[in-house]
Protein backbone atom coordinates (compact mmCIF):
# COMPACT_ATOMS: atom_id res chain seq x y z
CA UNK A 1 0.00 0.00 0.00
CA UNK A 2 2.78 2.38 1.01
CA UNK A 3 4.69 1.67 -2.18
CA UNK A 4 1.55 2.08 -4.27
CA UNK A 5 0.86 5.51 -2.78
CA UNK A 6 4.46 6.65 -3.23
CA UNK A 7 4.30 5.44 -6.82
CA UNK A 8 1.14 7.39 -7.51
CA UNK A 9 2.59 10.49 -5.89
CA UNK A 10 5.65 10.23 -8.09
CA UNK A 11 3.36 10.04 -11.13
CA UNK A 12 1.47 13.07 -9.81
CA UNK A 13 4.63 15.11 -9.25
CA UNK A 14 5.89 14.11 -12.68
CA UNK A 15 2.67 14.86 -14.53
CA UNK A 16 2.19 18.20 -12.78
CA UNK A 17 3.97 19.83 -15.66
CA UNK A 18 1.89 18.11 -18.32
CA UNK A 19 -1.40 18.92 -16.63
CA UNK A 20 -0.82 22.58 -17.24
CA UNK A 21 -1.37 24.28 -20.55
CA UNK A 22 1.64 25.38 -22.57
CA UNK A 23 5.00 23.98 -23.61
CA UNK A 24 6.64 22.11 -20.69
CA UNK A 25 10.07 23.25 -21.81
CA UNK A 26 9.04 26.89 -21.43
CA UNK A 27 7.66 26.23 -17.94
CA UNK A 28 10.63 24.18 -16.75
CA UNK A 29 13.21 26.64 -18.01
CA UNK A 30 11.30 29.60 -16.66
CA UNK A 31 13.51 32.63 -16.59
CA UNK A 32 16.47 30.43 -17.46
CA UNK A 33 15.26 30.01 -21.04
CA UNK A 34 18.19 30.04 -23.46
CA UNK A 35 19.07 27.88 -26.50
CA UNK A 36 21.86 26.18 -24.54
CA UNK A 37 19.63 25.30 -21.60
CA UNK A 38 16.86 24.24 -23.93
CA UNK A 39 19.14 21.76 -25.69
CA UNK A 40 20.34 20.44 -22.33
CA UNK A 41 16.78 20.06 -21.07
CA UNK A 42 15.64 18.13 -24.10
CA UNK A 43 18.64 15.83 -23.74
CA UNK A 44 18.23 15.31 -19.98
CA UNK A 45 14.49 14.78 -19.84
CA UNK A 46 14.04 13.37 -23.30
CA UNK A 47 11.14 15.74 -23.92
CA UNK A 48 10.80 14.66 -27.54
CA UNK A 49 10.33 11.03 -26.53
CA UNK A 50 6.96 9.49 -25.62
CA UNK A 51 5.64 10.46 -22.21
CA UNK A 52 5.90 6.99 -20.69
CA UNK A 53 9.58 6.82 -21.54
CA UNK A 54 10.06 10.30 -20.06
CA UNK A 55 8.62 9.07 -16.78
CA UNK A 56 10.97 6.11 -16.62
CA UNK A 57 13.99 8.30 -17.34
CA UNK A 58 12.86 10.66 -14.60
CA UNK A 59 12.04 8.04 -11.96
CA UNK A 60 15.35 6.26 -12.58
CA UNK A 61 17.17 9.51 -11.88
CA UNK A 62 15.07 10.17 -8.78
CA UNK A 63 15.78 6.74 -7.36
CA UNK A 64 19.48 7.46 -7.80
CA UNK A 65 19.01 10.61 -5.72
CA UNK A 66 19.25 12.83 -8.76
CA UNK A 67 16.38 15.32 -8.86
CA UNK A 68 18.00 17.32 -11.63
CA UNK A 69 19.91 20.56 -11.70
CA UNK A 70 18.07 23.86 -11.51
CA UNK A 71 18.21 25.83 -14.74
CA UNK A 72 18.12 29.06 -12.79
CA UNK A 73 20.49 28.70 -9.85
CA UNK A 74 22.60 26.03 -11.57
CA UNK A 75 22.75 24.02 -8.34
CA UNK A 76 21.54 20.48 -7.79
CA UNK A 77 17.96 20.26 -6.56
CA UNK A 78 18.82 17.57 -4.02
CA UNK A 79 21.57 19.80 -2.58
CA UNK A 80 19.08 22.65 -2.16
CA UNK A 81 16.64 20.37 -0.39
CA UNK A 82 19.37 18.94 1.85
CA UNK A 83 20.30 22.37 3.19
CA UNK A 84 16.68 23.45 3.76
CA UNK A 85 15.14 20.30 5.25
CA UNK A 86 16.98 20.34 8.65
CA UNK A 87 15.47 23.76 9.41
CA UNK A 88 11.95 22.38 8.94
CA UNK A 89 12.81 19.39 11.09
CA UNK A 90 14.16 21.63 13.84
CA UNK A 91 11.08 23.87 13.86
CA UNK A 92 8.73 20.88 13.90
CA UNK A 93 10.62 19.11 16.70
CA UNK A 94 10.72 22.26 18.85
CA UNK A 95 7.04 22.96 18.29
CA UNK A 96 6.04 19.38 19.10
CA UNK A 97 8.05 19.36 22.33
CA UNK A 98 6.24 22.51 23.45
CA UNK A 99 2.85 21.25 22.25
CA UNK A 100 3.05 17.85 23.98
CA UNK A 101 4.58 19.28 27.14
CA UNK A 102 1.66 21.67 27.52
CA UNK A 103 -1.23 19.69 26.03
CA UNK A 104 -0.82 16.51 28.11
CA UNK A 105 -0.90 18.13 31.59
CA UNK A 106 -3.65 20.56 30.53
CA UNK A 107 -5.81 17.74 29.17
CA UNK A 108 -5.33 15.85 32.44
CA UNK A 109 -6.39 18.86 34.48
CA UNK A 110 -9.48 19.25 32.29
CA UNK A 111 -10.38 15.57 32.35
CA UNK A 112 -10.20 15.39 36.13
CA UNK A 113 -13.41 17.42 36.43
CA UNK A 114 -15.20 17.49 33.08
CA UNK A 115 -17.48 20.53 32.74
CA UNK A 116 -15.95 22.03 35.88
CA UNK A 117 -14.96 25.72 35.84
CA UNK A 118 -11.34 25.03 34.85
CA UNK A 119 -12.40 22.68 32.06
CA UNK A 120 -14.85 25.24 30.71
CA UNK A 121 -12.25 28.00 30.67
CA UNK A 122 -9.69 25.77 28.97
CA UNK A 123 -12.33 24.58 26.53
CA UNK A 124 -13.34 28.11 25.57
CA UNK A 125 -9.70 29.18 25.33
CA UNK A 126 -8.70 26.30 23.10
CA UNK A 127 -11.77 26.86 20.97
CA UNK A 128 -10.81 30.49 20.40
CA UNK A 129 -7.23 29.56 19.54
CA UNK A 130 -8.59 27.02 17.06
CA UNK A 131 -10.10 29.88 15.06
CA UNK A 132 -6.91 31.92 14.72
CA UNK A 133 -4.91 31.01 11.61
CA UNK A 134 -1.16 30.52 12.09
CA UNK A 135 -0.29 33.46 9.87
CA UNK A 136 -2.33 35.80 12.04
CA UNK A 137 -0.59 34.48 15.17
CA UNK A 138 2.86 34.96 13.68
CA UNK A 139 2.07 38.50 12.47
CA UNK A 140 0.83 39.48 15.92
CA UNK A 141 3.81 37.78 17.62
CA UNK A 142 6.25 39.63 15.38
CA UNK A 143 4.43 42.85 16.14
CA UNK A 144 4.59 42.41 19.90
CA UNK A 145 7.72 40.35 20.56
CA UNK A 146 10.06 41.52 17.84
CA UNK A 147 8.91 45.11 17.32
CA UNK A 148 7.40 46.27 20.63
CA UNK A 149 9.61 44.26 23.02
CA UNK A 150 12.63 44.22 20.73
CA UNK A 151 13.78 40.66 21.49
CA UNK A 152 16.85 40.05 19.28
CA UNK A 153 16.79 37.69 16.30
CA UNK A 154 12.99 37.29 16.35
CA UNK A 155 12.07 39.71 13.57
CA UNK A 156 11.75 39.18 9.85
CA UNK A 157 14.87 37.92 8.00
CA UNK A 158 16.93 37.43 11.12
CA UNK A 159 17.56 33.70 10.80
CA UNK A 160 20.82 32.47 12.30
CA UNK A 161 21.94 28.94 11.45
CA UNK A 162 22.58 26.35 14.14
CA UNK A 163 26.26 26.08 13.26
CA UNK A 164 26.79 29.81 13.73
CA UNK A 165 25.39 30.39 17.18
CA UNK A 166 22.93 28.04 18.82
CA UNK A 167 21.41 30.55 21.22
CA UNK A 168 20.69 33.00 18.41
CA UNK A 169 19.43 30.08 16.34
CA UNK A 170 16.92 29.16 19.02
CA UNK A 171 15.83 32.78 19.30
CA UNK A 172 15.31 33.07 15.58
CA UNK A 173 13.22 29.88 15.50
CA UNK A 174 11.30 30.64 18.70
CA UNK A 175 8.39 32.52 17.12
CA UNK A 176 7.71 30.08 14.25
CA UNK A 177 8.03 27.08 16.59
CA UNK A 178 5.75 28.69 19.15
CA UNK A 179 3.18 29.53 16.49
CA UNK A 180 3.07 25.96 15.22
CA UNK A 181 3.03 24.74 18.82
CA UNK A 182 -0.17 26.70 19.53
CA UNK A 183 -1.99 25.04 16.65
CA UNK A 184 -0.80 21.59 17.69
CA UNK A 185 -1.56 22.20 21.36
CA UNK A 186 -5.22 22.95 20.66
CA UNK A 187 -5.70 19.80 18.62
CA UNK A 188 -3.83 17.51 21.04
CA UNK A 189 -5.56 19.00 24.07
CA UNK A 190 -9.04 18.41 22.66
CA UNK A 191 -8.35 14.88 21.48
CA UNK A 192 -6.59 13.73 24.66
CA UNK A 193 -9.14 15.37 26.95
CA UNK A 194 -12.11 13.57 25.42
CA UNK A 195 -10.28 10.21 25.44
CA UNK A 196 -9.12 10.63 29.02
CA UNK A 197 -12.69 11.33 30.13
CA UNK A 198 -13.82 8.10 28.50
CA UNK A 199 -10.96 6.09 29.99
CA UNK A 200 -11.54 7.45 33.48
CA UNK A 201 -15.02 5.90 33.44
CA UNK A 202 -13.59 2.39 32.98
CA UNK A 203 -13.88 -0.10 35.78
CA UNK A 204 -10.16 -0.61 36.25
CA UNK A 205 -9.81 3.07 37.08
CA UNK A 206 -12.47 2.72 39.79
CA UNK A 207 -10.49 -0.29 40.97
CA UNK A 208 -7.28 1.75 41.09
CA UNK A 209 -9.09 4.51 42.97
CA UNK A 210 -10.48 2.09 45.53
CA UNK A 211 -6.97 0.72 46.07
CA UNK A 212 -6.16 4.25 47.22
CA UNK A 213 -3.71 5.15 44.46
CA UNK A 214 -2.96 8.82 44.07
CA UNK A 215 -4.72 10.84 41.39
CA UNK A 216 -1.39 11.54 39.67
CA UNK A 217 -0.43 7.87 39.56
CA UNK A 218 -3.83 6.89 38.16
CA UNK A 219 -3.58 9.55 35.44
CA UNK A 220 -0.04 8.77 34.31
CA UNK A 221 0.22 5.03 34.92
CA UNK A 222 -3.31 3.81 34.24
CA UNK A 223 -5.27 6.28 32.14
CA UNK A 224 -2.70 7.95 29.91
CA UNK A 225 -1.50 5.06 27.79
CA UNK A 226 -4.87 3.66 26.74
CA UNK A 227 -6.06 7.19 26.02
CA UNK A 228 -3.17 8.12 23.78
CA UNK A 229 -4.12 6.11 20.68
CA UNK A 230 -6.25 8.83 19.09
CA UNK A 231 -3.66 11.39 20.21
CA UNK A 232 -0.91 9.60 18.30
CA UNK A 233 -3.09 9.23 15.22
CA UNK A 234 -3.86 12.93 15.30
CA UNK A 235 -0.21 13.79 15.92
CA UNK A 236 0.83 11.83 12.82
CA UNK A 237 -1.62 13.69 10.62
CA UNK A 238 -0.77 17.00 12.28
CA UNK A 239 3.01 16.69 11.97
CA UNK A 240 2.60 15.72 8.33
CA UNK A 241 0.42 18.79 7.95
CA UNK A 242 3.12 20.96 9.54
CA UNK A 243 5.72 19.67 7.09
CA UNK A 244 3.39 20.46 4.20
CA UNK A 245 1.67 23.55 5.61
CA UNK A 246 4.08 25.15 8.08
CA UNK A 247 5.75 27.05 5.27
CA UNK A 248 3.62 30.18 5.70
CA UNK A 249 5.22 30.92 9.03
CA UNK A 250 8.71 30.33 7.60
CA UNK A 251 7.98 32.38 4.56
CA UNK A 252 6.80 35.37 6.55
CA UNK A 253 10.02 35.42 8.58
CA UNK A 254 12.26 34.56 5.61
CA UNK A 255 13.61 31.46 7.33
CA UNK A 256 15.22 29.46 4.54
CA UNK A 257 13.47 26.13 5.17
CA UNK A 258 11.75 23.95 2.56
CA UNK A 259 8.58 26.05 2.51
CA UNK A 260 10.46 29.27 1.95
CA UNK A 261 12.55 27.65 -0.77
CA UNK A 262 9.38 26.32 -2.38
CA UNK A 263 7.77 29.74 -2.55
CA UNK A 264 10.98 31.35 -3.79
CA UNK A 265 11.23 28.76 -6.52
CA UNK A 266 7.61 29.29 -7.49
CA UNK A 267 8.34 33.01 -7.81
CA UNK A 268 11.32 32.28 -10.04
CA UNK A 269 9.38 29.58 -11.92
CA UNK A 270 12.18 27.19 -10.97
CA UNK A 271 10.09 24.18 -11.89
CA UNK A 272 12.57 21.41 -11.05
CA UNK A 273 13.04 22.64 -7.48
CA UNK A 274 9.26 22.89 -7.02
CA UNK A 275 8.81 19.38 -8.35
CA UNK A 276 11.59 18.06 -6.09
CA UNK A 277 10.15 19.68 -2.97
CA UNK A 278 6.61 18.49 -3.78
CA UNK A 279 7.96 14.96 -4.11
CA UNK A 280 10.07 15.05 -0.95
CA UNK A 281 7.34 16.63 1.18
CA UNK A 282 4.63 14.25 -0.06
CA UNK A 283 6.77 11.21 0.62
CA UNK A 284 7.76 12.70 3.99
CA UNK A 285 4.11 13.16 4.98
CA UNK A 286 3.33 9.57 4.12
CA UNK A 287 6.35 8.22 6.00
CA UNK A 288 5.41 10.24 9.09
CA UNK A 289 1.87 8.87 9.01
CA UNK A 290 3.25 5.38 8.57
CA UNK A 291 5.67 5.81 11.49
CA UNK A 292 2.84 6.96 13.77
CA UNK A 293 0.71 3.99 12.73
CA UNK A 294 3.56 1.75 13.88
CA UNK A 295 3.82 3.70 17.12
CA UNK A 296 0.10 3.24 17.76
CA UNK A 297 0.52 -0.51 17.41
CA UNK A 298 3.27 -0.44 20.00
CA UNK A 299 1.22 1.64 22.45
CA UNK A 300 -1.91 -0.44 21.98
CA UNK A 301 -1.07 -3.95 20.67
CA UNK A 302 -4.79 -4.85 20.57
CA UNK A 303 -5.17 -2.81 17.38
CA UNK A 304 -2.83 -4.96 15.28
CA UNK A 305 -4.38 -8.14 16.64
CA UNK A 306 -7.86 -7.23 15.46
Amino acid sequence: MLIAIVFIISVGAFYLIHLLPGDPAVVILGTGDSPVNRARLYKELGLNKPILEQYFVWIKNVLHGNLGTSFISETSVWGTIKTALPIDVEIIVLSQIVAFATAIPTAMVSARRPDGPLDRILGAGSFTLLSIPSFVIIVLLVLFVAIKLGVPHTGVSSYVSLGQDWVANLESLALPSFTLAIGSFVVYYRVLRSDLIATLQEEYITMARSKGLSQRRIMWRHAFRPSSVALLGTAGVNIGGLLAGGFIVQYLLSIPGLGYTLIQSIGLSDYLVVQGIVLVVSVGVILINFAFDLLINIVDPRISRE
Partner: protein
Amino acid sequence: MYVAEVVEEHHDRPERKKRLGILFWICVGWIALNVVGAIFANVLPIQNPLFQNYATVNAGPSLHHFLGTDDLGRDIFARIVYGSRVSIEVSLGAMLIGFGLGAPLGMLAAYRRGKFDTILTAVMYIFLAFPAIIATIAVLSFWTPRSLLKIIIVVGIASIPLVYRVIRSATMNFATRDFVIAAKVQGATDRRIMVKELLPNIAPVGVSFLLIGIATVVTLEGALAFLGLSVNPPTPSWGNMINESLSILQQNPWLAIFPSLAMCLFLLCLNFIGDRLRAHFEVSEAKL
Protein backbone atom coordinates in the same frame (compact mmCIF):
# COMPACT_ATOMS: atom_id res chain seq x y z
CA MET B 1 -11.69 7.00 17.37
CA TYR B 2 -14.51 4.87 18.77
CA VAL B 3 -13.61 6.03 22.24
CA ALA B 4 -14.26 9.65 21.35
CA GLU B 5 -17.78 8.85 20.19
CA VAL B 6 -18.67 7.34 23.52
CA VAL B 7 -17.61 10.50 25.31
CA GLU B 8 -19.71 12.81 23.19
CA GLU B 9 -22.79 10.83 24.07
CA HIS B 10 -21.93 10.86 27.74
CA HIS B 11 -21.56 14.52 28.30
CA ASP B 12 -24.10 15.89 25.85
CA ARG B 13 -26.41 17.22 28.46
CA PRO B 14 -30.11 17.39 27.67
CA GLU B 15 -30.34 21.08 28.57
CA ARG B 16 -27.66 21.94 26.01
CA LYS B 17 -29.51 20.12 23.28
CA LYS B 18 -32.81 21.91 23.58
CA ARG B 19 -31.57 25.46 23.16
CA LEU B 20 -28.90 26.78 20.90
CA GLY B 21 -28.19 29.70 23.19
CA ILE B 22 -27.84 33.43 22.69
CA LEU B 23 -24.19 33.20 21.65
CA PHE B 24 -25.19 30.94 18.77
CA TRP B 25 -27.58 33.54 17.40
CA ILE B 26 -25.03 36.33 17.85
CA CYS B 27 -22.63 34.28 15.74
CA VAL B 28 -25.30 33.63 13.10
CA GLY B 29 -26.02 37.36 13.10
CA TRP B 30 -22.37 38.23 12.63
CA ILE B 31 -21.96 35.83 9.70
CA ALA B 32 -25.19 37.19 8.16
CA LEU B 33 -23.87 40.73 8.58
CA ASN B 34 -20.66 39.77 6.81
CA VAL B 35 -22.53 38.14 3.95
CA VAL B 36 -24.94 41.08 3.55
CA GLY B 37 -21.99 43.48 3.65
CA ALA B 38 -20.19 41.49 0.98
CA ILE B 39 -23.23 41.35 -1.32
CA PHE B 40 -24.27 44.99 -0.99
CA ALA B 41 -20.79 46.54 -0.66
CA ASN B 42 -21.37 48.73 -3.73
CA VAL B 43 -24.71 50.04 -2.50
CA LEU B 44 -23.74 50.66 1.12
CA PRO B 45 -22.48 54.11 2.11
CA ILE B 46 -18.84 53.09 2.45
CA GLN B 47 -15.82 54.58 0.75
CA ASN B 48 -14.18 53.34 -2.42
CA PRO B 49 -11.70 50.61 -1.37
CA LEU B 50 -9.34 51.53 -4.21
CA PHE B 51 -9.41 55.32 -3.74
CA GLN B 52 -5.95 56.52 -2.71
CA ASN B 53 -5.85 59.65 -0.58
CA TYR B 54 -2.25 60.68 -0.05
CA ALA B 55 -3.27 63.36 2.44
CA THR B 56 -4.13 60.68 5.02
CA VAL B 57 -1.57 57.90 4.79
CA ASN B 58 -1.21 55.33 7.59
CA ALA B 59 -3.75 57.17 9.72
CA GLY B 60 -5.01 55.49 12.86
CA PRO B 61 -8.73 55.10 13.58
CA SER B 62 -10.62 58.40 13.36
CA LEU B 63 -14.13 59.67 12.77
CA HIS B 64 -13.56 59.97 9.06
CA HIS B 65 -11.82 56.61 8.59
CA PHE B 66 -13.01 54.70 11.58
CA LEU B 67 -10.53 51.83 11.17
CA GLY B 68 -7.82 54.10 9.78
CA THR B 69 -6.09 54.08 6.39
CA ASP B 70 -3.29 52.02 4.83
CA ASP B 71 0.04 53.08 3.33
CA LEU B 72 -1.69 54.35 0.17
CA GLY B 73 -4.35 56.26 2.09
CA ARG B 74 -7.09 53.75 1.33
CA ASP B 75 -9.88 53.28 3.86
CA ILE B 76 -9.24 50.07 5.83
CA PHE B 77 -12.89 49.53 6.75
CA ALA B 78 -13.99 49.68 3.10
CA ARG B 79 -11.21 47.28 2.13
CA ILE B 80 -12.24 44.83 4.85
CA VAL B 81 -15.86 44.86 3.68
CA TYR B 82 -14.86 44.40 0.03
CA GLY B 83 -12.22 41.87 1.09
CA SER B 84 -14.87 39.66 2.66
CA ARG B 85 -16.22 39.18 -0.86
CA VAL B 86 -13.16 37.22 -1.89
CA SER B 87 -13.23 35.00 1.20
CA ILE B 88 -16.95 34.32 0.88
CA GLU B 89 -16.89 33.77 -2.88
CA VAL B 90 -13.93 31.40 -2.75
CA SER B 91 -15.28 29.40 0.16
CA LEU B 92 -18.83 29.08 -1.18
CA GLY B 93 -17.62 28.37 -4.72
CA ALA B 94 -15.14 25.73 -3.60
CA MET B 95 -17.72 24.08 -1.34
CA LEU B 96 -20.23 24.08 -4.21
CA ILE B 97 -17.76 22.06 -6.29
CA GLY B 98 -16.67 19.89 -3.35
CA PHE B 99 -20.19 19.04 -2.22
CA GLY B 100 -21.66 19.06 -5.73
CA LEU B 101 -19.39 16.21 -6.78
CA GLY B 102 -18.18 14.68 -3.51
CA ALA B 103 -21.55 14.33 -1.77
CA PRO B 104 -23.53 12.53 -4.55
CA LEU B 105 -20.57 10.22 -5.19
CA GLY B 106 -20.22 9.49 -1.48
CA MET B 107 -23.94 8.74 -1.11
CA LEU B 108 -24.03 6.60 -4.23
CA ALA B 109 -20.96 4.63 -3.15
CA ALA B 110 -22.35 3.97 0.34
CA TYR B 111 -25.79 3.04 -1.02
CA ARG B 112 -24.73 0.84 -3.93
CA ARG B 113 -21.56 -0.66 -2.37
CA GLY B 114 -19.90 -3.36 -4.49
CA LYS B 115 -17.17 -2.75 -7.02
CA PHE B 116 -18.17 0.86 -7.69
CA ASP B 117 -17.65 1.71 -4.02
CA THR B 118 -14.37 -0.22 -3.70
CA ILE B 119 -12.72 1.42 -6.68
CA LEU B 120 -13.99 4.94 -5.98
CA THR B 121 -13.00 4.79 -2.33
CA ALA B 122 -9.51 3.54 -3.17
CA VAL B 123 -9.04 6.39 -5.66
CA MET B 124 -10.27 8.97 -3.15
CA TYR B 125 -7.97 7.70 -0.41
CA ILE B 126 -5.00 7.94 -2.71
CA PHE B 127 -5.90 11.56 -3.43
CA LEU B 128 -6.22 12.14 0.31
CA ALA B 129 -2.68 10.87 0.83
CA PHE B 130 -1.33 13.64 -1.38
CA PRO B 131 -0.87 16.78 0.75
CA ALA B 132 -3.66 18.99 -0.62
CA ILE B 133 -2.05 22.31 0.24
CA ILE B 134 1.14 21.48 -1.65
CA ALA B 135 -0.84 20.28 -4.66
CA THR B 136 -2.98 23.44 -4.58
CA ILE B 137 0.07 25.70 -4.46
CA ALA B 138 1.89 23.76 -7.14
CA VAL B 139 -1.04 23.90 -9.56
CA LEU B 140 -1.91 27.53 -8.86
CA SER B 141 1.67 28.70 -9.19
CA PHE B 142 2.09 27.37 -12.71
CA TRP B 143 -1.48 27.89 -13.95
CA THR B 144 -1.23 31.54 -14.96
CA PRO B 145 -2.75 34.08 -15.22
CA ARG B 146 -4.45 33.57 -11.88
CA SER B 147 -8.07 34.42 -11.33
CA LEU B 148 -10.68 33.94 -8.64
CA LEU B 149 -12.36 31.24 -10.72
CA LYS B 150 -9.16 29.18 -11.00
CA ILE B 151 -8.63 29.37 -7.24
CA ILE B 152 -12.21 28.19 -6.69
CA ILE B 153 -11.76 25.30 -9.12
CA VAL B 154 -8.45 24.10 -7.65
CA VAL B 155 -9.56 24.38 -4.02
CA GLY B 156 -12.95 22.86 -4.87
CA ILE B 157 -11.41 19.84 -6.56
CA ALA B 158 -8.99 19.39 -3.66
CA SER B 159 -11.95 19.24 -1.26
CA ILE B 160 -13.86 16.51 -3.17
CA PRO B 161 -12.15 13.50 -1.50
CA LEU B 162 -12.69 14.99 1.96
CA VAL B 163 -16.39 15.57 1.36
CA TYR B 164 -16.68 12.13 -0.22
CA ARG B 165 -15.18 10.43 2.84
CA VAL B 166 -17.40 12.21 5.34
CA ILE B 167 -20.64 11.80 3.36
CA ARG B 168 -19.90 8.19 2.52
CA SER B 169 -19.35 7.18 6.14
CA ALA B 170 -22.44 9.16 7.22
CA THR B 171 -24.58 7.45 4.57
CA MET B 172 -23.25 4.01 5.55
CA ASN B 173 -24.85 4.45 8.97
CA PHE B 174 -28.29 4.69 7.37
CA ALA B 175 -28.08 2.76 4.11
CA THR B 176 -29.01 -0.59 5.65
CA ARG B 177 -31.56 0.67 8.18
CA ASP B 178 -35.11 -0.69 8.19
CA PHE B 179 -36.73 2.46 6.81
CA VAL B 180 -34.51 2.32 3.73
CA ILE B 181 -35.31 -1.34 3.17
CA ALA B 182 -39.00 -0.57 3.69
CA ALA B 183 -38.84 2.11 1.03
CA LYS B 184 -37.09 -0.31 -1.30
CA VAL B 185 -39.75 -2.98 -0.73
CA GLN B 186 -42.43 -0.44 -1.55
CA GLY B 187 -40.78 -0.01 -4.91
CA ALA B 188 -39.19 3.40 -4.45
CA THR B 189 -36.56 4.26 -7.01
CA ASP B 190 -32.93 4.60 -5.94
CA ARG B 191 -33.05 8.31 -6.62
CA ARG B 192 -36.13 8.72 -4.43
CA ILE B 193 -34.56 6.75 -1.58
CA MET B 194 -31.41 8.81 -1.70
CA VAL B 195 -33.18 12.16 -1.85
CA LYS B 196 -36.16 11.51 0.42
CA GLU B 197 -34.85 8.91 2.87
CA LEU B 198 -31.09 9.27 3.13
CA LEU B 199 -30.47 12.96 2.48
CA PRO B 200 -32.48 14.29 5.46
CA ASN B 201 -30.59 11.92 7.76
CA ILE B 202 -27.12 12.85 6.64
CA ALA B 203 -27.91 16.57 6.41
CA PRO B 204 -26.67 17.40 9.95
CA VAL B 205 -23.29 15.83 9.25
CA GLY B 206 -23.21 17.57 5.88
CA VAL B 207 -23.98 21.00 7.33
CA SER B 208 -21.43 20.60 10.12
CA PHE B 209 -18.78 19.63 7.64
CA LEU B 210 -19.80 22.45 5.30
CA LEU B 211 -19.13 24.99 8.08
CA ILE B 212 -15.74 23.43 8.83
CA GLY B 213 -15.00 23.44 5.10
CA ILE B 214 -15.87 27.13 4.72
CA ALA B 215 -13.64 28.02 7.68
CA THR B 216 -10.80 25.98 6.19
CA VAL B 217 -11.10 27.62 2.78
CA VAL B 218 -11.17 31.12 4.29
CA THR B 219 -7.90 30.28 6.07
CA LEU B 220 -6.49 28.74 2.91
CA GLU B 221 -7.28 31.87 0.90
CA GLY B 222 -5.33 33.84 3.49
CA ALA B 223 -2.39 31.47 3.15
CA LEU B 224 -2.52 31.69 -0.65
CA ALA B 225 -2.64 35.49 -0.45
CA PHE B 226 0.60 35.46 1.52
CA LEU B 227 2.27 33.56 -1.26
CA GLY B 228 0.87 35.93 -3.86
CA LEU B 229 -1.33 33.18 -5.24
CA SER B 230 -4.69 34.71 -4.41
CA VAL B 231 -6.46 37.53 -6.28
CA ASN B 232 -4.11 40.17 -7.65
CA PRO B 233 -3.70 43.50 -5.85
CA PRO B 234 -5.16 46.11 -5.68
CA THR B 235 -8.28 43.95 -5.21
CA PRO B 236 -8.59 43.67 -1.43
CA SER B 237 -8.91 40.33 0.35
CA TRP B 238 -8.33 39.69 4.04
CA GLY B 239 -5.22 37.68 3.26
CA ASN B 240 -3.90 40.32 0.85
CA MET B 241 -4.38 43.04 3.44
CA ILE B 242 -2.55 41.17 6.21
CA ASN B 243 0.19 40.36 3.75
CA GLU B 244 0.58 44.01 2.66
CA SER B 245 0.70 45.10 6.28
CA LEU B 246 3.84 43.05 6.96
CA SER B 247 6.27 45.42 5.29
CA ILE B 248 4.98 48.40 7.29
CA LEU B 249 4.17 46.61 10.54
CA GLN B 250 6.19 49.12 12.52
CA GLN B 251 4.54 52.28 11.17
CA ASN B 252 0.97 51.05 10.95
CA PRO B 253 0.05 48.07 13.16
CA TRP B 254 -3.68 48.76 12.58
CA LEU B 255 -3.35 47.51 9.04
CA ALA B 256 -2.37 44.09 10.44
CA ILE B 257 -4.75 44.05 13.40
CA PHE B 258 -8.10 44.94 11.81
CA PRO B 259 -8.14 42.46 8.89
CA SER B 260 -6.79 39.77 11.25
CA LEU B 261 -9.61 40.55 13.64
CA ALA B 262 -12.20 40.44 10.85
CA MET B 263 -10.92 37.05 9.72
CA CYS B 264 -10.63 35.58 13.22
CA LEU B 265 -14.12 36.72 14.23
CA PHE B 266 -15.58 35.24 11.05
CA LEU B 267 -13.78 31.93 11.67
CA LEU B 268 -14.66 31.88 15.37
CA CYS B 269 -18.36 32.38 14.59
CA LEU B 270 -18.32 29.66 11.94
CA ASN B 271 -16.60 27.22 14.28
CA PHE B 272 -18.96 28.08 17.12
CA ILE B 273 -22.06 27.60 14.96
CA GLY B 274 -20.67 24.27 13.77
CA ASP B 275 -19.88 23.15 17.30
CA ARG B 276 -23.35 24.03 18.61
CA LEU B 277 -25.10 22.37 15.68
CA ARG B 278 -23.04 19.22 16.26
CA ALA B 279 -24.10 19.17 19.89
CA HIS B 280 -27.70 19.88 18.87
CA PHE B 281 -27.93 17.11 16.30
CA GLU B 282 -25.64 14.81 18.28
CA VAL B 283 -23.08 14.54 15.53
CA SER B 284 -19.81 13.44 17.11
CA GLU B 285 -16.60 15.21 16.23
CA ALA B 286 -15.04 11.87 15.37
CA LYS B 287 -17.37 11.46 12.38
CA LEU B 288 -15.91 14.52 10.75
